[in-house]
Symmetry: C2
Subunit: 338 residues, 2 copies
């Protein structure tokens, strides 16, 4: 393996000189610089970033730990975050993790290795404890999730979220306002101590306020957030009942799969059954019919997360929490009952 030392030898200079040209330091004579550059190119030298990171005392990098590839919602938020970070004079370092991985641990390792100044977590658990966040010794902000099921104090972490329960309630109230009373819900789980549970609570609340009794047979769990599970879930629901006139699906992707199941089950959307969801990913606007959904303010969420983090890094302020409202995108998937 070619190292900086090899380059140095081939050029008859010292490693420090090579390092200098590698890092664009000014005090290198142009003759030497060119010679070094030439050799670097010839031998296809690529620096070892581990060695580099190890010796660096600080970086201006901020880490973004994203849970899961193929999360449309997250994917659409990243460019905004990247831009905001760049504008603040920092560099973004994105790191994907699998759904099984521990985002705090992964984040902590990143911080240590890359000497990060701060961390943004895109997706994570709603129930961290004091012990778990203690591995992070830099400011961090939870983007799109809070600590609803944990016992952290507000001063111990930052977050930028929507009010999942309230927005779910709004979604269901939107259906109620359109004359619906038999409203089903399609969700991951009623008790996942996470987003699904929160949105379920909002559903229950909306029904309660409207004086509609909770009909447990209209509550359909899917077990996960996949389109396949949603499709199957909706089919099951249809097998069990066909008297509901509307469904609240807790995520856009799930809603798209559910609409297909409704279609195949002979229920036209919105004629026979209205559908509303939460998220507002761009793809759902291309569906036929377009999905009515409460759009999460992705741009604001990203920018606000960055703002909070930078403020903390630059010691301008402490942990804070921001809750942003969604915006209704009225699509073709909800109709008014006459």
């Amino acid at each position: 393996m070619t190292t900086i030392k090899d380059i140095a030898e081939r050029c008859s200079v010292s490693v420090s000189t090579v390092s200098r040209v590698l890092n664009d330091h000014p005090d290198v004579s142009s003759t030497v610089r060119e010679r070094v550059l030439k050799v670097i190119d010839e031998v296809h030298y690529v620096p070892n970033s581990s060695a580099r990171d190890l010796v660096k005392s600080q970086s201006d990098d901020i880490g973004l730990v994203v849970r899961g590839m193929g999360n449309f919602f997250f994917a659409e938020m990243i460019p905004t975050i990247e831009t905001a970070i760049a504008k603040a004079g920092y560099t973004l370092l994105t790191h994907q993790i699998n759904s099984e991985d521990d985002e705090l641990r992964a984040g902590a390792e990143l911080v240590r290795s890359k000497k990060l100044k701060g961390l943004i977590l895109l997706g994570g658990c709603f129930d961290y404890g004091k012990e778990q966040i203690a591995v992070l010794d830099v400011p961090f902000v939870c983007c799109s999730f809070g600590n609803s099921f944990g016992k952290l104090k507000e001063t111990q972490y930052s977050s930028v979220t929507i009010d999942d329960q309230l927005e779910a309630r709004r979604a269901v109230e939107y259906l109620i306002a359109h004359g619906h009373r038999k409203i089903a819900i399609l969700l991951d789980s009623t008790c996942d101590s996470s987003i699904s549970e929160l949105r379920y609570l909002g559903y229950c609340q909306a029904l309660k306020v409207a004086g509609i009794p909770l009909d447990e047979e209209l509550v359909q769990e899917t077990g996960n957030f996949s389109m396949e599970a949603s499709y199957d879930g909706m089919k099951q629901l249809l097998n069990r009942r066909d008297d509901f006139t509307a469904v609240f699906v807790i995520a856009d992707t799930m809603a798209m799969a559910a609409m297909r199941a409704l279609y195949e089950g002979g229920k036209r959307v919105p004629d026979d059954c209205s559908v509303i969801a939460i998220d507002g990913i761009s793809m759902s606007a291309y569906f036929v019919p377009t999905l009515t959904t409460l759009v999460q303010p992705k741009r604001e969420m990203g920018e606000e997360s960055v703002r909070i983090l930078i403020d903390m890094i630059e010691k301008r302020s402490k942990n804070r929490h921001v809750i942003l409202p969604t915006e209704v995108r009225s699509g073709e998937s909800v109709r008014r009952m006459k």
Copy 2:
């Protein structure tokens, strides 16, 4: 920052002992092990992976460099690759890059830092040169792209792809077989030296063989692969012409957006206009109407890529190239002309 040395001091043991418990070495007395573990937990110690990587001489890791978040096609291929790699006794290290980044450079850095045994590139340029691949000093395989516009010899790289041009031709011939003659095409660009150009060539070929003259007004470029651009592109095409009875769209996601534009333009799919695409992402099966598409064999592509790579790593064979066929998924988006 807490290091292994701090832990050692607090435990009154040497750093090597701490290192041993960190790496689960057997020869540590259980009393010491527990004491160390306790302190590690107390101070929330997280190892520095740069230091670790630097000192390690080899790993059993294989890198996967993926171009772009939110590429549905790639996202659906990753689990397969991961499984296959694990089954072969290696570990997968996934690394995302932006569309502007140089995947070879990024891959080379990963290889150096993490001491990787090999690399799989998921998405990349079709025109690498000898010089560019020289930075990689481990076996690598290009998954889902070849070197159609470059000048590499077959012995210089490995690839697993579909035959883009042929499959595009098949897609168009499918439309022709269904009685269509006025067939439009929606693509990124006719000359991007990449996938779009290849599929365009297939389109032209199919027309030629069928004796249908190429009508340039039916060729619509979008400039990129986004849904937005596809939607706009289809609108433009509709403004210009409305006599085509079918469209070949070069990717599933683009097709979904295009179908929406057709719908808004008053053209029903498939009644007024048929649509066929290539890719076969899962979401397109939930659309109404379901998309007819040539499904890329994601599973086989992933597994074959891994097989080739492992074979090379274990010196069982040299570079090879595999071209896999697609499978037609007949959806509701194509109708037979009477």
